[in-house]
Symmetry: C2
Subunit: 195 residues, 2 copies
Amino acid sequence: MKEKQKLIDFIQSVFPMPLSNADEIVALFNLKEFEKDDILLREGRVCNEYYYLEEGFVRVYTFDPDGNDVTTAFASSNQIVFELFSFFKRVPSGETIQALTPCKTWFITFDQLQYIFHAMPQFREFGRTILINTYALLKQRTLSMIRKTAEERYVHLLETNPDIFQYAQLKNIASYLGVTDTSLSRIRREFSKNK
Amino acid sequence: MKEKQKLIDFIQSVFPMPLSNADEIVALFNLKEFEKDDILLREGRVCNEYYYLEEGFVRVYTFDPDGNDVTTAFASSNQIVFELFSFFKRVPSGETIQALTPCKTWFITFDQLQYIFHAMPQFREFGRTILINTYALLKQRTLSMIRKTAEERYVHLLETNPDIFQYAQLKNIASYLGVTDTSLSRIRREFSKNK
DNA sequence: CGCCGAGTTGAACTGAATCAAGAAACGTGG
DNA sequence: CCACGTTTCTTGATTCAGTTCAACTCGGCG
């Protein structure tokens, strides 16, 4: 199996294209590995790398006006990881991306991505699909913040992303769910009791 | 002044391009006007039109699992209006877009947009910018749902989009803010008292 | 004129926050 | 490998923001 096979499969699963094109695209991706707690992107820097996370688990967070650490996203193996707004607008990122486990990634820079978009226009469809999917997920999350109780959000997360509970700590999951860690601890207790 | 001057100006403000190109692009946009309460897009239909709202005010809403009407967005003059996910993925929309005032729009269909993207690749930058901006706004909203009190969200909306209070009714603003109409009524009273 | 939908107000209730104190888990150095 | 300090998680008591439900006001419109 080729070293970039998973990346190729991922690209094909998002937007199928001829193998020769896929090979050409992935040729530009470079390996970068991170230790636990390493920073993939630091707040204040312009996000210049578009990562495919082959293996690992990351947390994306920012600070609210009161200085509290708020988790805005988690990502696990076989996902694209980057800070969309900073990357495309070339402005400093408001968010930090941190490895919660050792991570194996393949990445390209902004310039390389522009080059691919230019040289292989089909790849734009891939980029757009990633963008649209990211948007759709955020939309669901927003709606659930508005209409669901903390326990419903907890149960949903547990069902859809159980791995988060394995790698992230309580307070970070809590801020992602929009509750305090105290509340999440109680919710978890009540929930495990009732089964 | 050309009838499509505002559309041209808008496109140029988002992504500047030679005038000849802009003219060629807007040539494909057609006029559509709506009366108050008309539906621009109905839930369940595939969003096939990409609207530039030259004049007017619209509300985007969906129904939560309990059948409650939830407002997910408002849009006013000089904005792009469409249901991103449905439009690009060609799946039925989960949302309805409704005119709250008479609306003057210029629109293109999905096929026309694909054609423009193909014929005038620079216009892809316009499309991407719209997408990214939409994403950034949603992200801000999500964060404010998590970290801000109802009153803070109210004040922020009042300061950034005062026109919403002119055209939309209380219960729709309330569901947009993630509170009940009862609460919003109280918040508004307290707030106007303290000034 | 009378109705009807939109908004307001009150009273009781509740989900989640806050504050504070323990318990458990974790890591670091001796 | 244990001891100690630090951080994470749990638990209890209390408070509070926002909901619920129901009654009432107001303005428009048929």
